[in-house]
């Protein structure tokens, strides 16, 4: 099942990266009248490991773990070596040029402002 999912994520092209597996980070998404805010949890990822791309309306967030190797024998292991990746289709009302990102302690916060024309406007009656 994993092999099929990997092909889906790479849009059908064959990518020969046998060791690469991805995990989807947990996200919170909020919407206010001016913007969306997306928070993604990616422990082990810092600014250097983040790749955020926007193409058409597709937002792809990839986080590469900067795992410092720990000396010694692993006795017990619950964490996974996988990097993080999640793909979103954005509301077309989001202004792609104004998206900003910040990462702190493994949490990425993306602010996605809505374009002016899309914000709710009061229309006054003359």
């Amino acid at each position: 099942m994993n092999a099929v999912a990997e092909r889906e994520k790479t849009n059908g092209t064959q990518v020969l990266q046998p060791e690469r597996t991805y995990v989807a980070p947990e996200v919170n998404i909020f919407e206010s009248k001016d913007q969306y805010v997306l928070e993604a949890e990616m422990p082990g990822v810092n600014k250097e490991g983040l790749e955020i791309t926007l193409q058409d309306n597709i937002l792809t967030i990839t986080g590469h773990r900067a795992d410092q190797p720990i000396g010694g024998e692993p006795l017990y292991r619950e964490s996974r070596k996988a990097d993080y990746r999640r793909v979103f289709e954005l509301d077309p009302g989001i202004d792609g040029e104004k998206i900003s990102a910040r990462v702190d302690q493994g949490v990425l916060t993306l602010t996605l402002p809505k374009a002016e024309r899309v914000k709710p406007r009061k229309i006054t009656v003359a």
């Binding site: 099942m1 994993n2 099929v4 999912a5 889906e8 994520k9 995990v23 989807a24 947990e26 996200v27 919170n28 998404i29 909020f30 919407e31 206010s32 009248k33 969306y36 805010v37 997306l38 928070e39 949890e41 990616m42 422990p43 082990g44 990822v45 810092n46 597709i58 900067a66 410092q68 720990i70 000396g71 010694g72 024998e73 692993p74 006795l75 017990y76 292991r77 619950e78 964490s79 996974r80 999640r86 793909v87 979103f88 289709e89 954005l90 509301d91 009302g93 702190d104 302690q105 493994g106 949490v107």
Partner: protein, 155 residues
């Protein structure tokens, strides 16, 4: 690991953030999440956040690593008692007053993990660092617990 994800009811009918990969991927996620947290027997299963823990050993130290994204270091409590390490804390909800919620997957609330260490450590020399959302606790072994070479003599 919480088997039941807590979702706030969607406040908007149209969800602009549709994931491209569909149900297939969601099911993959369920299976990918480590089941070892349930079966390890290190602590009774409680619903809620169970941050992933790794335990490594070399000849001088034990190293415990916990995945705790989005905390402040003052909010993490580490204690050592009778050879049992306990890591706990609380992640507080950040209120977004004027916003509706589309997705709420991140856990909020209290967490605790405990780990019994295989041999004695020197409690005074334990160090912890928190970087990129990963807490690393280094516990030096006591002299008595370190492995010693034993010479084999032949007559």
């Amino acid at each position: 690991m919480a088997l039941i994800r807590w979702h706030r009811p969607e406040t908007a009918r149209w969800d602009p953030f549709r994931q491209l990969s569909s149900l297939h991927s969601e099911i993959d996620r369920l299976f990918e999440a480590p089941l070892s947290a349930l079966t390890a027997g290190l602590q009774p299963f409680t619903s809620g956040w169970s941050p992933a823990l790794d335990l490594h050993e070399d000849k001088d130290n034990f190293t415990v690593r916990a995945e705790l994204p989005g905390m402040k270091k003052e909010e993490i409590e580490i204690s050592l008692h009778d050879g049992v390490l306990s890591i706990s804390g609380e992640r507080r909800e950040v209120k977004h007053e004027d916003s509706g919620v589309h997705r709420s997957e991140r856990f909020v609330g209290h967490f605790q993990r405990t780990l019994a260490l295989p041999s004695a450590v020197d409690a005074d020399k334990v160090k912890a660092t928190y970087e990129d959302g990963i807490l690393t606790v280094t516990l030096p072994k006591t002299e008595a617990a370190k492995p010693r070479q034993i010479q084999v003599k032949t007559r």
